[in-house]
């Protein structure tokens, strides 16, 4: 698997490179600014891009914009966005193209190396990896998700974080069958059209973020 990294702070750029390399993930290129990201992505066509939100030259949300632009250019290009703070607003913007392969994590999560590498792989495979922080911020809100039972909201939150049915079942101490029942209920309540399961999961997460 090959990745392109965009991170302006050398310390973190090297840390990320080292961790990914240690897990046999090839770092095709590590850029340190926003404008260099898109050309690097087009040149290497990596399996996933790991991008810091705040990059030079503007030090605003340069990385996020570059990631969204790259996904417009290369539809469905998996992008894992890292930041020192998370905003549900940014998560929603990342997901608006309704394709999977999106992750949005606090940089803190990288220190749980195994889980981080797992998230990188999951996003590369077209899944999602929303930070628990984003999820918990949204759980506290009311909205269209009011129709869901607390348990269903919990399951939806776990889906947003990117867990598989089996993983959710293990986490909530129920059977996998119970989880798929919950998920079907969620799809029905959110009026998700029947389609392949992966895509519906993304849409459900998006509904969750839009709530």
């Amino acid at each position: 698997m090959r990745v392109v990294i965009a991170e302006d702070l050398a310390l973190l750029r090297e840390g990320l490179t080292r961790i990914l390399t240690a897990f046999d993930i090839e770092v095709a290129e590590a850029v340190d600014n926003g404008p260099a990201l898109l050309p690097a992505l087009l040149r290497h066509r990596p399996d996933v891009a790991v991008v810091d939100v705040r990059l030079p030259p503007t030090f605003t949300d340069e990385g996020l914009q570059a990631a969204i632009a790259a996904r417009a250019e290369v539809p469905g290009l998996p992008v894992l966005v890292l930041s020192q703070h998370v905003e549900p607003l940014y998560a929603r913007e990342l997901l608006t193209d309704r394709r999977g392969g999106v992750g949005y994590l606090l940089k803190d999560r990288v220190s749980d190396v195994a889980q981080f590498v797992d998230a990188v792989r999951r996003v590369a495979a077209g899944g999602t990896a929303m930070d628990p922080e984003v999820v918990s911020q949204l759980l506290a809100r009311r909205g269209p998700l009011a129709a869901l039972t607390p348990r269903e909201r919990e399951v939806l939150g776990q889906m947003a974080e990117g867990r598989s049915n089996a993983a959710i079942a293990a986490k909530l101490f129920v059977t996998e069958k119970a989880i798929s029942k919950h998920i079907n209920n969620i799809f029905t309540k959110l009026a998700m059209p029947p389609s392949d399961d992966d895509n519906r999961r993304v849409l459900a997460v998006l509904a969750y973020l839009n709530a």
């Binding site: 702070l9 310390l11 973190l12 840390g15 990320l16 080292r18 961790i19 240690a22 705040r54 030090f59 020192q84 940089k107 803190d108 990288v110 220190s111 749980d112 190396v113 195994a114 981080f116």
Partner: protein, 428 residues
């Protein structure tokens, strides 16, 4: 020495008197011009352009009178309302701005009496010394003209050679009196000018409001920039280091069984990273509010700062108490900025800081023996310093002739809390 100062002041006053006479002669023509410009307003709107122009001349003239008054020791502020933003020349707004400003009318009221006073007082201050000089230089003149044809002082006409010789001491006395009296005449003229040209109470308040509006905006800007800087420093500094620390430890955890040697290296790295994170936090905290300032006040903080600089800095602080925290902080950072400039730009061998409290204000002086030539317009540092102080009605003046020395004088009006009587407390 004292005599020389007295003579110098007198001669300068006489010279100012001459200037005042010259300027006074323009007053009447200016008044006429202004009235003509006003009357011409209905004629194809000429006045819309002419009146602002003539008013500009009148105000320039009034400003010169204020400058002369300042030289005589009477400070007179400009009373004019600030120009509205979209008041273009030739526009109605500009015209209205001029006509509705009471200061315009006060200027006009001043033109005639002011001109007259300037003329009379100026001529007077010149006439006495001239007459004195005449007395001193009269002798040859009088000899060539012959007796009985001329007089001087108390002898009129001069009849004997002895009386003629008396013109010399009389002349010296009159010249001395003239020079001595000239500053007083200038002062009277200045007071008369102030009567008309100083801001009224309302204008004073308006100026004050304008000043406050400006300094408030500056303060808010400075504060926002400061917060942004702190956010940046945290984001790129300590926060990033902690993330990196987490990464290193996480990786070490993963490698624990596979590669213990690498783990040892990673852990050493982690320890180092935690150290640098702390150093960065400490620097940041010092930039926000130095702990030593909180603990020891301005005196201790400036001394501590001086010790950290690469050149010897003499510190002299004489404060009977502590100012309010925000004032103290502003004072500290102003001194710190001044010292930073010394280190960066002056090439000085030594510097000195003096801080004392007098007349309800902190007076801070930072001087160095460097190359001088500092330009307050050049760097943002000096300007920022001025702004920091302006928020508390403080002022900063800079004297930095080429070749040095550079002296930064800062004043910060404030009250001091009564000094803490004792730190020791009675404990069982």
């Amino acid at each position: 020495m004292e005599t020389r100062a007295w003579v110098r002041d007198g001669l300068r006053a006489v010279a100012d008197g001459v200037i005042a006479v010259g300027l006074a002669l323009t007053n009447f023509p200016l008044l006429v011009l202004w009235i003509v410009a006003l009357v011409l307003t209905p004629v194809a709107g000429i006045g819309l352009v002419a009146l602002p122009f003539v008013t500009w001349l009148v105000r320039g003239r009034a400003d010169l009178a204020r400058r002369l008054a300042a030289r005589a020791g009477v400070a007179i502020a400009r009373p004019y309302a600030p120009r509205p933003e979209n008041a273009r020349l030739g526009g109605w707004r500009r015209y209205r701005w001029i006509l509705t400003d009471p200061a315009t009318w006060r200027d006009l009221a001043w033109l005639l009496p002011g001109g007259l006073a300037g003329l009379v007082l100026g001529v007077l201050s010149l006439a006495l010394p001239l007459y004195g000089i005449e007395g001193i230089t009269l002798l040859p003149l009088w000899l060539s003209l012959g007796l009985d044809s001329y007089g001087y002082g108390i002898y009129w006409p001069i009849q004997t050679l002895g009386e003629g010789m008396m013109s010399l001491p009389q002349g010296v006395l009159i010249l001395a009196a003239g020079v001595a009296v000239a500053p007083a005449l200038r002062w009277v003229d200045a007071q008369f000018t102030r009567l008309f040209l100083a801001p009224t109470r309302a204008a004073d308040l308006r100026l004050r409001v304008a000043h406050l509006t400006e300094t408030r905006a500056d303060t808010v800007d400075a504060q926002a920039a400061e917060l942004r800087r702190i956010e940046r420093d945290l984001h790129d500094g300590a926060q990033a280091r902690l993330v990196s620390l987490g990464m290193t430890i996480g990786l070490a955890e993963e490698l624990l069984e596979r590669d213990p040697a690498a783990v040892r290296k990673l852990l050493a790295e982690a320890r180092e990273a935690s150290g640098s994170a702390l150093v960065e936090l400490r620097h940041l905290v010092r930039g926000i509010h130095p702990p030593v300032l909180a603990e020891r006040g301005l005196d201790g903080a400036v001394r501590a700062l001086a010790l950290n600089l690469p050149l010897p800095v003499g510190v002299e602080v004489d404060l009977p108490g502590r100012p309010e925290t925000p004032v103290e902080s502003a004072a500290y950072f102003a001194v710190a900025e001044a010292l930073t400039n010394v280190v960066r730009h002056s090439g000085a061998q030594t510097a000195a800081v003096s801080i004392r409290y007098a007349d309800g204000a902190l007076a801070m002086v930072v001087l160095d023996d460097g190359r001088g030539g500092a330009d307050p317009g050049a760097g943002t540092g000096l300007r920022g310093m001025g702004r920091r102080l302006a928020a508390f009605d403080g002022t900063m003046t800079l004297s930095s002739p080429p070749g040095g020395p550079t002296v930064v004088t800062m004043e910060l009006p404030c009250a001091l809390s009564s000094p803490k009587t004792s730190h020791s407390s009675v404990r069982a």
